[in-house]
Protein backbone atom coordinates (compact mmCIF):
# COMPACT_ATOMS: atom_id res chain seq x y z
CA UNK A 1 0.00 0.00 0.00
CA UNK A 2 2.83 2.34 0.94
CA UNK A 3 4.62 1.40 -2.27
CA UNK A 4 2.52 3.89 -4.17
CA UNK A 5 3.89 6.73 -1.98
CA UNK A 6 7.66 6.25 -2.33
CA UNK A 7 8.74 9.27 -0.26
CA UNK A 8 6.60 8.12 2.63
CA UNK A 9 7.74 4.51 2.32
CA UNK A 10 11.36 5.64 2.31
CA UNK A 11 11.00 7.57 5.55
CA UNK A 12 9.24 4.63 7.22
CA UNK A 13 12.03 2.32 6.07
CA UNK A 14 14.68 4.67 7.50
CA UNK A 15 12.87 5.17 10.80
CA UNK A 16 12.31 1.47 11.33
CA UNK A 17 16.10 0.98 11.44
CA UNK A 18 16.12 2.70 14.86
CA UNK A 19 16.50 0.47 17.91
CA UNK A 20 13.14 -0.34 19.46
CA UNK A 21 11.22 1.04 16.48
CA UNK A 22 9.24 -1.38 14.35
CA UNK A 23 7.20 -0.94 11.21
CA UNK A 24 4.10 0.28 13.08
CA UNK A 25 5.82 2.90 15.21
CA UNK A 26 7.84 4.07 12.20
CA UNK A 27 4.60 4.62 10.26
CA UNK A 28 3.14 6.52 13.21
CA UNK A 29 6.21 8.76 13.42
CA UNK A 30 6.13 9.38 9.69
CA UNK A 31 2.49 10.49 9.87
CA UNK A 32 3.38 12.76 12.79
CA UNK A 33 6.11 14.42 10.72
CA UNK A 34 3.78 14.76 7.78
CA UNK A 35 1.32 16.77 9.85
CA UNK A 36 4.05 19.06 11.26
CA UNK A 37 4.89 22.38 9.58
CA UNK A 38 7.82 22.18 7.15
CA UNK A 39 10.01 24.19 9.57
CA UNK A 40 9.84 21.39 12.11
CA UNK A 41 10.93 18.79 9.58
CA UNK A 42 13.79 21.02 8.52
CA UNK A 43 14.85 21.52 12.14
CA UNK A 44 14.91 17.77 12.65
CA UNK A 45 16.90 17.05 9.50
CA UNK A 46 19.38 19.82 10.37
CA UNK A 47 19.76 18.43 13.88
CA UNK A 48 20.56 15.02 12.50
CA UNK A 49 23.09 16.39 10.00
CA UNK A 50 24.72 18.60 12.65
CA UNK A 51 25.05 15.61 14.93
CA UNK A 52 27.08 13.80 12.34
CA UNK A 53 29.05 16.88 11.30
CA UNK A 54 29.95 18.26 14.71
CA UNK A 55 30.41 15.33 16.99
CA UNK A 56 33.63 13.40 17.17
CA UNK A 57 35.50 11.42 19.80
CA UNK A 58 37.75 13.34 22.19
CA UNK A 59 41.34 12.44 21.36
CA UNK A 60 42.15 11.93 25.05
CA UNK A 61 39.19 10.15 26.64
CA UNK A 62 37.15 9.13 23.55
CA UNK A 63 33.95 10.59 24.95
CA UNK A 64 31.73 12.28 22.37
CA UNK A 65 32.46 15.99 22.00
CA UNK A 66 32.28 19.01 19.72
CA UNK A 67 35.55 20.47 20.96
CA UNK A 68 38.70 18.46 21.04
CA UNK A 69 39.86 17.84 23.76
CA UNK A 70 36.49 17.66 25.49
CA UNK A 71 35.30 19.75 28.44
CA UNK A 72 35.88 16.92 30.87
CA UNK A 73 39.51 16.56 29.81
CA UNK A 74 40.29 20.29 29.87
CA UNK A 75 38.43 21.13 33.11
CA UNK A 76 40.74 22.44 35.86
CA UNK A 77 38.56 21.26 38.72
CA UNK A 78 38.96 17.56 38.12
CA UNK A 79 41.18 15.13 40.00
CA UNK A 80 44.08 14.16 37.71
CA UNK A 81 44.99 11.12 39.78
CA UNK A 82 41.67 9.33 39.35
CA UNK A 83 40.45 7.72 36.11
CA UNK A 84 37.13 6.03 35.48
CA UNK A 85 36.86 3.52 32.60
CA UNK A 86 33.44 2.91 31.03
CA UNK A 87 32.16 0.91 28.06
CA UNK A 88 29.96 3.54 26.43
CA UNK A 89 29.40 7.33 26.54
CA UNK A 90 25.95 6.65 28.07
CA UNK A 91 27.64 5.07 31.10
CA UNK A 92 29.82 8.16 31.50
CA UNK A 93 26.71 10.35 31.45
CA UNK A 94 25.09 8.17 34.10
CA UNK A 95 28.08 8.59 36.42
CA UNK A 96 28.21 12.34 35.73
CA UNK A 97 24.53 12.67 36.62
CA UNK A 98 25.29 11.17 40.03
CA UNK A 99 27.85 13.94 40.80
CA UNK A 100 29.79 11.31 42.72
CA UNK A 101 32.95 11.19 40.67
CA UNK A 102 35.36 14.09 40.20
CA UNK A 103 38.17 12.39 38.30
CA UNK A 104 38.73 11.96 34.56
CA UNK A 105 37.20 9.39 32.21
CA UNK A 106 38.09 6.96 29.51
CA UNK A 107 35.51 5.47 27.14
CA UNK A 108 36.33 2.07 25.63
CA UNK A 109 33.46 1.97 23.12
CA UNK A 110 32.73 -1.68 23.72
CA UNK A 111 33.64 -4.71 25.79
CA UNK A 112 35.64 -7.83 24.98
CA UNK A 113 33.44 -10.40 23.27
CA UNK A 114 35.21 -13.05 21.19
CA UNK A 115 31.86 -14.34 19.88
CA UNK A 116 31.19 -10.99 18.27
CA UNK A 117 34.79 -10.70 17.16
CA UNK A 118 35.64 -7.92 19.62
CA UNK A 119 39.19 -8.26 20.95
CA UNK A 120 41.47 -5.86 22.86
CA UNK A 121 42.54 -4.15 19.63
CA UNK A 122 38.95 -3.40 18.66
CA UNK A 123 38.20 -1.15 21.63
CA UNK A 124 40.17 1.84 22.96
CA UNK A 125 42.46 -0.04 25.34
CA UNK A 126 45.77 0.96 23.72
CA UNK A 127 45.15 4.74 24.18
CA UNK A 128 44.13 4.01 27.77
CA UNK A 129 47.45 2.30 28.43
CA UNK A 130 49.26 5.22 26.84
CA UNK A 131 47.50 7.64 29.19
CA UNK A 132 48.38 5.51 32.19
CA UNK A 133 52.00 5.41 31.05
CA UNK A 134 52.27 9.17 31.49
CA UNK A 135 52.32 8.72 35.23
CA UNK A 136 49.74 11.13 36.71
CA UNK A 137 47.07 8.54 37.41
CA UNK A 138 47.11 6.77 40.79
CA UNK A 139 43.82 4.88 40.62
CA UNK A 140 41.71 3.39 37.85
CA UNK A 141 38.04 2.76 38.63
CA UNK A 142 36.75 0.11 36.23
CA UNK A 143 33.06 0.83 35.63
CA UNK A 144 32.36 -1.58 32.78
CA UNK A 145 28.91 -3.19 32.79
CA UNK A 146 28.01 -6.08 35.08
CA UNK A 147 27.63 -8.55 32.27
CA UNK A 148 29.78 -11.55 31.44
CA UNK A 149 31.59 -9.40 28.84
CA UNK A 150 31.94 -6.35 31.08
CA UNK A 151 33.39 -8.47 33.88
CA UNK A 152 35.89 -10.13 31.56
CA UNK A 153 36.96 -6.72 30.24
CA UNK A 154 37.47 -5.55 33.83
CA UNK A 155 39.62 -8.61 34.58
CA UNK A 156 41.64 -8.02 31.43
CA UNK A 157 42.28 -4.39 32.33
CA UNK A 158 43.21 -5.22 35.93
CA UNK A 159 45.80 -7.68 34.65
CA UNK A 160 47.23 -5.07 32.32
CA UNK A 161 47.27 -2.17 34.77
CA UNK A 162 48.56 -3.86 37.94
CA UNK A 163 52.20 -4.09 36.79
CA UNK A 164 52.22 -0.29 36.39
CA UNK A 165 51.78 0.06 40.15
CA UNK A 166 48.42 1.78 39.72
CA UNK A 167 45.55 0.92 42.03
CA UNK A 168 42.66 -0.78 40.20
CA UNK A 169 39.15 -0.71 41.68
CA UNK A 170 35.83 -2.05 40.45
CA UNK A 171 32.46 -0.40 40.88
CA UNK A 172 30.62 -2.04 43.81
CA UNK A 173 27.46 -4.03 43.15
CA UNK A 174 24.52 -4.76 45.35
CA UNK A 175 21.15 -3.47 46.47
CA UNK A 176 19.77 -0.39 44.69
CA UNK A 177 19.10 2.70 46.86
CA UNK A 178 15.67 3.07 48.36
CA UNK A 179 14.71 -0.54 47.78
CA UNK A 180 13.53 -3.17 50.19
CA UNK A 181 15.47 -6.40 50.43
CA UNK A 182 12.40 -8.59 50.02
CA UNK A 183 11.82 -7.36 46.46
CA UNK A 184 15.38 -7.84 45.22
CA UNK A 185 16.16 -10.84 43.01
CA UNK A 186 18.25 -13.60 44.53
CA UNK A 187 21.30 -13.12 42.32
CA UNK A 188 21.64 -9.48 43.38
CA UNK A 189 21.16 -10.25 47.07
CA UNK A 190 23.71 -13.02 46.69
CA UNK A 191 26.28 -10.61 45.22
CA UNK A 192 25.54 -8.03 47.88
CA UNK A 193 26.17 -10.58 50.63
CA UNK A 194 29.39 -11.72 48.93
CA UNK A 195 30.57 -8.13 48.65
CA UNK A 196 29.62 -7.07 52.20
CA UNK A 197 31.96 -4.77 54.03
CA UNK A 198 33.00 -3.59 57.46
CA UNK A 199 31.21 -0.67 59.08
Amino acid sequence: MLDSIPSFARLVAELSKFPGIGQKTATRLAFFLLRQPAVEAEALSTAILELKRQIRFCSICYHITEQNPCGLCTSQSRDESLLCVVEEPQALLAIERSHSFRGRYHVLHGALSPLEGVGPDDIYIAPLMQRLGQGDIKEVLVATNFTVEGDATALYLARLIHPLGIRVTRLAYGIPMGSELEYIDEATVNRAVQGRREF
Binding site: L112, S113, P114, L115, G119, P120, V148, E149, D151, A152, T153, A154, L155, Y156, R159, L160, D185, E186, A187, N190
Partner: protein
Protein backbone atom coordinates in the same frame (compact mmCIF):
# COMPACT_ATOMS: atom_id res chain seq x y z
CA UNK B 1 1.74 -29.74 45.60
CA UNK B 2 -1.33 -30.72 43.65
CA UNK B 3 -2.13 -30.17 39.99
CA UNK B 4 -5.91 -29.67 40.03
CA UNK B 5 -6.65 -29.00 36.39
CA UNK B 6 -4.88 -29.12 33.08
CA UNK B 7 -6.16 -27.39 29.96
CA UNK B 8 -4.53 -27.87 26.57
CA UNK B 9 -5.22 -26.55 23.11
CA UNK B 10 -3.58 -27.96 19.99
CA UNK B 11 -0.81 -29.63 21.96
CA UNK B 12 0.51 -32.45 19.74
CA UNK B 13 -2.46 -34.79 19.18
CA UNK B 14 -4.36 -33.38 22.17
CA UNK B 15 -6.57 -30.90 20.34
CA UNK B 16 -8.64 -29.83 23.29
CA UNK B 17 -8.27 -31.02 26.87
CA UNK B 18 -9.78 -29.65 30.03
CA UNK B 19 -9.33 -32.18 32.80
CA UNK B 20 -9.63 -32.17 36.58
CA UNK B 21 -7.27 -34.56 38.35
CA UNK B 22 -7.26 -36.83 41.35
CA UNK B 23 -5.23 -35.61 44.31
CA UNK B 24 -3.44 -38.92 44.72
CA UNK B 25 -3.14 -41.33 41.83
CA UNK B 26 -3.97 -40.57 38.23
CA UNK B 27 -3.83 -43.61 36.04
CA UNK B 28 -3.74 -42.62 32.40
CA UNK B 29 -4.40 -45.69 30.33
CA UNK B 30 -5.13 -46.68 26.78
CA UNK B 31 -3.52 -48.27 23.75
CA UNK B 32 -0.15 -47.10 22.52
CA UNK B 33 0.21 -43.95 20.44
CA UNK B 34 -3.03 -42.40 21.70
CA UNK B 35 -1.45 -39.44 23.49
CA UNK B 36 -0.72 -40.71 27.03
CA UNK B 37 2.89 -39.55 27.08
CA UNK B 38 1.86 -36.26 25.46
CA UNK B 39 -0.18 -35.57 28.59
CA UNK B 40 2.86 -36.13 30.82
CA UNK B 41 4.92 -34.00 28.48
CA UNK B 42 2.44 -31.13 28.84
CA UNK B 43 2.64 -31.28 32.65
CA UNK B 44 6.43 -31.49 32.49
CA UNK B 45 6.52 -28.48 30.19
CA UNK B 46 4.57 -26.42 32.73
CA UNK B 47 7.33 -27.17 35.23
CA UNK B 48 10.43 -26.92 33.06
CA UNK B 49 9.25 -24.92 30.01
CA UNK B 50 11.43 -27.31 28.00
CA UNK B 51 10.26 -30.76 26.96
CA UNK B 52 11.95 -33.99 28.02
CA UNK B 53 11.71 -35.10 24.41
CA UNK B 54 13.83 -33.34 21.84
CA UNK B 55 11.23 -31.15 20.21
CA UNK B 56 10.86 -27.91 18.36
CA UNK B 57 7.84 -25.76 18.91
CA UNK B 58 6.40 -26.46 15.51
CA UNK B 59 6.46 -30.16 16.31
CA UNK B 60 4.63 -29.65 19.59
CA UNK B 61 2.01 -27.46 18.02
CA UNK B 62 -0.68 -29.59 16.43
CA UNK B 63 -0.32 -29.81 12.64
CA UNK B 64 -1.36 -26.83 10.52
CA UNK B 65 -2.05 -24.67 13.57
CA UNK B 66 -0.48 -21.37 14.59
CA UNK B 67 -0.03 -21.88 18.28
CA UNK B 68 -0.44 -24.28 21.18
CA UNK B 69 -1.68 -23.34 24.61
CA UNK B 70 -1.13 -24.96 28.03
CA UNK B 71 -2.70 -24.01 31.32
CA UNK B 72 -2.25 -25.66 34.69
CA UNK B 73 -4.07 -24.88 37.92
CA UNK B 74 -2.29 -26.04 41.00
CA UNK B 75 -2.19 -25.71 44.75
CA UNK B 76 1.16 -25.30 46.45
CA UNK B 77 1.72 -24.45 50.13
CA UNK B 78 -2.02 -23.86 50.42
CA UNK B 79 -2.10 -21.28 47.63
CA UNK B 80 -3.71 -21.67 44.22
CA UNK B 81 -1.65 -20.73 41.21
CA UNK B 82 -2.24 -20.69 37.50
CA UNK B 83 0.55 -21.28 35.00
CA UNK B 84 0.16 -20.64 31.28
CA UNK B 85 2.38 -21.23 28.29
CA UNK B 86 1.60 -20.12 24.78
CA UNK B 87 3.83 -21.69 22.13
CA UNK B 88 4.28 -20.31 18.64
CA UNK B 89 6.77 -21.56 16.03
CA UNK B 90 9.10 -18.68 16.92
CA UNK B 91 8.74 -18.32 20.64
CA UNK B 92 6.70 -18.62 23.77
CA UNK B 93 4.82 -16.47 26.24
CA UNK B 94 4.75 -17.36 29.91
CA UNK B 95 2.17 -16.24 32.45
CA UNK B 96 1.93 -16.78 36.18
CA UNK B 97 -1.46 -16.07 37.73
CA UNK B 98 -2.49 -14.22 34.59
CA UNK B 99 0.51 -11.91 34.62
CA UNK B 100 3.15 -12.18 31.90
CA UNK B 101 6.68 -13.02 33.09
CA UNK B 102 9.78 -12.17 31.07
CA UNK B 103 12.36 -14.35 32.73
CA UNK B 104 12.35 -18.12 32.87
CA UNK B 105 13.43 -17.94 36.48
CA UNK B 106 10.19 -16.24 37.49
CA UNK B 107 8.21 -19.13 36.04
CA UNK B 108 10.16 -21.84 37.84
CA UNK B 109 9.34 -23.24 41.23
CA UNK B 110 5.54 -23.29 41.13
CA UNK B 111 5.17 -26.71 39.56
CA UNK B 112 8.04 -29.08 40.27
CA UNK B 113 7.55 -32.32 38.39
CA UNK B 114 9.83 -35.30 38.82
CA UNK B 115 9.76 -37.54 35.78
CA UNK B 116 10.51 -41.21 35.30
CA UNK B 117 10.54 -42.50 31.74
CA UNK B 118 11.92 -45.65 30.11
CA UNK B 119 14.03 -43.50 27.77
CA UNK B 120 16.00 -42.25 30.77
CA UNK B 121 17.32 -45.73 31.52
CA UNK B 122 19.97 -45.15 28.90
CA UNK B 123 21.35 -42.42 31.13
CA UNK B 124 22.84 -44.86 33.61
CA UNK B 125 25.15 -46.42 31.03
CA UNK B 126 25.30 -43.64 28.49
CA UNK B 127 27.37 -40.50 28.09
CA UNK B 128 28.07 -38.20 31.06
CA UNK B 129 25.87 -35.50 29.47
CA UNK B 130 22.76 -37.48 30.36
CA UNK B 131 23.75 -37.87 34.01
CA UNK B 132 24.71 -34.21 34.24
CA UNK B 133 21.33 -33.23 32.87
CA UNK B 134 19.63 -35.55 35.40
CA UNK B 135 21.45 -33.77 38.19
CA UNK B 136 20.99 -30.27 36.80
CA UNK B 137 17.25 -30.75 36.34
CA UNK B 138 16.98 -31.91 39.94
CA UNK B 139 18.89 -28.90 41.28
CA UNK B 140 17.11 -26.37 39.08
CA UNK B 141 13.94 -26.64 41.13
CA UNK B 142 15.50 -26.56 44.57
CA UNK B 143 18.07 -23.83 44.08
CA UNK B 144 16.83 -20.58 42.62
CA UNK B 145 20.24 -19.20 41.63
CA UNK B 146 21.25 -22.31 39.72
CA UNK B 147 19.74 -21.21 36.41
CA UNK B 148 21.62 -17.88 36.64
CA UNK B 149 24.90 -19.66 37.36
CA UNK B 150 24.31 -22.01 34.51
CA UNK B 151 23.43 -19.43 31.88
CA UNK B 152 26.38 -17.30 32.92
CA UNK B 153 28.76 -20.24 32.73
CA UNK B 154 27.53 -21.28 29.30
CA UNK B 155 28.06 -17.77 27.96
CA UNK B 156 31.61 -17.56 29.32
CA UNK B 157 32.35 -21.04 28.01
CA UNK B 158 31.29 -20.07 24.50
CA UNK B 159 33.42 -16.92 24.60
CA UNK B 160 36.45 -18.82 25.86
CA UNK B 161 36.07 -21.59 23.28
CA UNK B 162 35.94 -18.97 20.55
CA UNK B 163 39.32 -17.65 21.69
CA UNK B 164 40.81 -21.14 21.93
CA UNK B 165 39.60 -21.87 18.41
CA UNK B 166 41.27 -18.70 17.17
CA UNK B 167 44.55 -19.51 18.90
CA UNK B 168 44.29 -16.22 20.76
CA UNK B 169 47.14 -14.85 22.83
CA UNK B 170 47.48 -15.99 26.43
CA UNK B 171 46.84 -12.47 27.65
CA UNK B 172 43.50 -12.36 25.88
CA UNK B 173 42.45 -15.78 27.11
CA UNK B 174 43.30 -15.14 30.73
CA UNK B 175 40.29 -13.02 31.84
CA UNK B 176 37.92 -15.59 30.37
CA UNK B 177 39.72 -18.36 32.24
CA UNK B 178 39.29 -16.46 35.51
CA UNK B 179 35.61 -15.82 34.72
CA UNK B 180 35.14 -19.50 33.83
CA UNK B 181 36.63 -20.57 37.13
CA UNK B 182 34.46 -18.17 39.14
CA UNK B 183 31.25 -19.21 37.44
CA UNK B 184 32.19 -22.90 37.25
CA UNK B 185 32.89 -23.13 40.95
CA UNK B 186 29.38 -21.90 41.76
CA UNK B 187 27.91 -24.73 39.70
CA UNK B 188 30.20 -27.35 41.18
CA UNK B 189 29.50 -26.09 44.67
CA UNK B 190 25.73 -26.38 44.15
CA UNK B 191 26.10 -29.85 42.68
CA UNK B 192 28.29 -31.07 45.54
CA UNK B 193 25.86 -29.77 48.15
CA UNK B 194 22.90 -31.36 46.37
CA UNK B 195 24.55 -34.75 45.92
CA UNK B 196 25.69 -34.83 49.54
CA UNK B 197 22.13 -34.11 50.62
CA UNK B 198 20.46 -36.85 48.60
CA UNK B 199 23.04 -39.61 49.09
CA UNK B 200 21.62 -40.86 52.42
CA UNK B 201 18.06 -40.58 51.03
CA UNK B 202 19.06 -42.55 47.96
CA UNK B 203 20.59 -45.30 50.06
CA UNK B 204 17.48 -45.64 52.21
CA UNK B 205 14.97 -45.55 49.47
CA UNK B 206 16.92 -47.96 47.26
CA UNK B 207 16.84 -50.60 49.98
CA UNK B 208 13.16 -49.94 50.50
CA UNK B 209 12.19 -50.35 46.87
CA UNK B 210 14.53 -53.15 45.93
CA UNK B 211 13.98 -54.91 49.20
CA UNK B 212 17.57 -56.00 49.43
CA UNK B 213 20.52 -54.98 51.52
CA UNK B 214 22.46 -53.55 48.57
CA UNK B 215 23.87 -50.07 49.07
CA UNK B 216 23.25 -47.46 46.39
CA UNK B 217 25.43 -44.41 46.13
CA UNK B 218 26.21 -41.60 43.75
CA UNK B 219 29.38 -39.60 43.69
CA UNK B 220 29.97 -36.29 42.00
CA UNK B 221 32.97 -35.00 43.84
CA UNK B 222 34.08 -36.91 46.86
CA UNK B 223 34.20 -34.40 49.67
CA UNK B 224 32.68 -31.05 50.38
CA UNK B 225 35.19 -28.34 49.85
CA UNK B 226 35.36 -24.65 50.48
CA UNK B 227 34.84 -22.45 47.42
CA UNK B 228 38.46 -21.30 47.50
CA UNK B 229 39.67 -24.87 47.35
CA UNK B 230 37.32 -25.56 44.46
CA UNK B 231 38.75 -22.56 42.64
CA UNK B 232 42.32 -23.77 43.08
CA UNK B 233 41.32 -27.24 41.97
CA UNK B 234 39.55 -26.01 38.81
CA UNK B 235 42.45 -23.70 37.96
CA UNK B 236 44.89 -26.59 38.30
CA UNK B 237 42.73 -28.80 36.06
CA UNK B 238 42.65 -26.11 33.38
CA UNK B 239 46.38 -25.69 33.72
CA UNK B 240 47.04 -29.36 33.15
CA UNK B 241 44.90 -29.43 30.00
CA UNK B 242 46.14 -26.13 28.68
CA UNK B 243 48.24 -27.37 25.77
CA UNK B 244 45.59 -29.85 24.74
CA UNK B 245 42.91 -27.17 24.91
CA UNK B 246 44.87 -25.00 22.52
CA UNK B 247 45.35 -27.93 20.16
CA UNK B 248 41.68 -28.88 20.13
CA UNK B 249 40.30 -25.37 20.37
CA UNK B 250 37.88 -25.99 23.21
CA UNK B 251 37.57 -26.05 26.98
CA UNK B 252 38.16 -29.62 28.07
CA UNK B 253 37.47 -29.52 31.81
CA UNK B 254 34.82 -27.98 34.00
CA UNK B 255 31.21 -28.48 35.09
CA UNK B 256 30.23 -29.00 31.45
CA UNK B 257 32.41 -32.11 31.33
CA UNK B 258 31.97 -33.48 34.84
CA UNK B 259 30.33 -36.82 35.47
CA UNK B 260 28.10 -38.24 38.15
CA UNK B 261 28.93 -41.83 39.02
CA UNK B 262 26.29 -44.32 40.16
CA UNK B 263 27.23 -47.24 42.41
CA UNK B 264 25.57 -50.27 43.90
CA UNK B 265 27.59 -52.06 46.57
CA UNK B 266 30.67 -50.15 45.50
CA UNK B 267 30.47 -51.24 41.87
CA UNK B 268 29.92 -48.74 39.12
CA UNK B 269 26.59 -49.18 37.36
CA UNK B 270 28.16 -47.88 34.17
CA UNK B 271 30.01 -51.14 33.66
CA UNK B 272 28.69 -53.69 36.11
CA UNK B 273 25.03 -52.99 36.75
CA UNK B 274 22.30 -55.38 35.65
CA UNK B 275 19.25 -53.98 33.87
CA UNK B 276 17.22 -54.45 37.03
CA UNK B 277 19.76 -52.57 39.13
CA UNK B 278 19.82 -49.70 36.67
CA UNK B 279 16.03 -49.39 36.75
CA UNK B 280 15.90 -49.56 40.53
CA UNK B 281 18.68 -47.05 40.82
CA UNK B 282 17.04 -44.50 38.58
CA UNK B 283 13.75 -44.93 40.38
CA UNK B 284 15.48 -44.54 43.74
CA UNK B 285 17.20 -41.38 42.50
CA UNK B 286 13.80 -39.94 41.61
CA UNK B 287 12.34 -41.03 44.93
CA UNK B 288 15.24 -39.34 46.72
CA UNK B 289 14.33 -36.15 44.85
CA UNK B 290 10.78 -36.49 46.17
CA UNK B 291 12.04 -36.88 49.76
CA UNK B 292 14.47 -34.00 49.39
CA UNK B 293 11.77 -31.62 48.19
CA UNK B 294 9.48 -32.84 50.95
CA UNK B 295 12.14 -31.82 53.49
CA UNK B 296 12.97 -28.52 51.81
CA UNK B 297 9.50 -27.24 51.02
CA UNK B 298 7.29 -29.23 53.37
CA UNK B 299 5.47 -30.77 50.41
CA UNK B 300 6.40 -33.36 47.78
CA UNK B 301 6.67 -32.55 44.07
CA UNK B 302 4.34 -34.20 41.58
CA UNK B 303 5.57 -37.39 40.01
CA UNK B 304 5.24 -38.29 36.34
CA UNK B 305 5.73 -41.98 35.62
CA UNK B 306 5.77 -42.97 31.98
CA UNK B 307 5.04 -46.63 31.38
CA UNK B 308 6.29 -47.76 34.78
CA UNK B 309 4.71 -51.18 34.51
CA UNK B 310 6.89 -52.18 31.59
CA UNK B 311 9.99 -51.38 33.57
CA UNK B 312 9.44 -52.87 37.02
CA UNK B 313 8.34 -56.28 38.24
CA UNK B 314 5.21 -56.55 40.36
CA UNK B 315 7.00 -56.61 43.67
CA UNK B 316 9.10 -53.51 43.06
CA UNK B 317 6.11 -51.75 41.60
CA UNK B 318 4.01 -52.30 44.68
CA UNK B 319 6.87 -51.24 46.97
CA UNK B 320 7.29 -48.08 44.97
CA UNK B 321 3.58 -47.37 44.98
CA UNK B 322 3.54 -47.88 48.76
CA UNK B 323 6.35 -45.37 49.08
CA UNK B 324 4.45 -42.82 47.00
CA UNK B 325 1.24 -43.29 48.97
CA UNK B 326 3.18 -42.74 52.19
CA UNK B 327 4.69 -39.53 50.83
CA UNK B 328 1.26 -38.29 49.72
CA UNK B 329 2.73 -37.50 46.35
CA UNK B 330 0.38 -36.73 43.50
CA UNK B 331 1.19 -39.19 40.74
CA UNK B 332 0.48 -39.21 37.02
CA UNK B 333 1.11 -42.61 35.62
CA UNK B 334 0.70 -43.92 32.09
CA UNK B 335 0.18 -47.56 31.35
CA UNK B 336 -1.16 -49.84 28.67
CA UNK B 337 -2.27 -52.42 31.26
CA UNK B 338 -4.04 -50.65 34.14
CA UNK B 339 -5.36 -53.85 35.76
CA UNK B 340 -1.92 -54.63 37.16
CA UNK B 341 -1.90 -51.55 39.36
CA UNK B 342 -5.48 -51.79 40.39
CA UNK B 343 -4.97 -53.59 43.70
CA UNK B 344 -2.46 -51.23 45.30
CA UNK B 345 -4.18 -47.96 44.57
CA UNK B 346 -7.75 -49.07 44.24
CA UNK B 347 -9.38 -46.55 46.50
CA UNK B 348 -7.37 -43.51 45.80
CA UNK B 349 -6.96 -43.49 42.05
CA UNK B 350 -8.68 -41.70 39.23
CA UNK B 351 -8.74 -43.47 35.88
CA UNK B 352 -8.46 -41.61 32.60
CA UNK B 353 -8.66 -43.33 29.28
CA UNK B 354 -6.82 -41.70 26.41
CA UNK B 355 -8.11 -42.58 22.97
CA UNK B 356 -6.98 -40.74 19.84
CA UNK B 357 -6.16 -37.58 21.75
CA UNK B 358 -9.38 -37.55 23.80
CA UNK B 359 -9.60 -38.14 27.54
CA UNK B 360 -12.47 -39.87 29.30
CA UNK B 361 -12.82 -40.47 33.00
CA UNK B 362 -13.19 -44.21 32.73
CA UNK B 363 -11.85 -47.11 34.74
CA UNK B 364 -10.77 -50.24 32.89
CA UNK B 365 -13.54 -52.61 34.00
Amino acid sequence: MILNNLALLRFRNLIEVNQDWNQNFNIIWGKNAQGKTNLLEAIYLLGYVKSFRPARHHEIICQHEEQAFLKGQLTSQGVNHQLEIKLTPNGRTLRVNGKPVQRLKQFFGYLRPVLFTPEELGIVRGYPAGRRSLLDRAILHVEKNYLDYYQQYERILKQRNQLLKRQAREQELQPWTVALINAGVQIRHSRIIYVERIRPLLKDVYQNIVGSSETADCIYSTIQKHEDELKEEFAAELDRKHIKEKQLGQTLVGPHRDDLDFYVDGQSLKTFGSQGQQRSFLLAFKAAQVLDQQMLFGEPPILLLDDLASELDMERQSRFVDFLIKQRTQVFLTTASPEILAEAVKNQAGYYRVDQGKINTLSPE
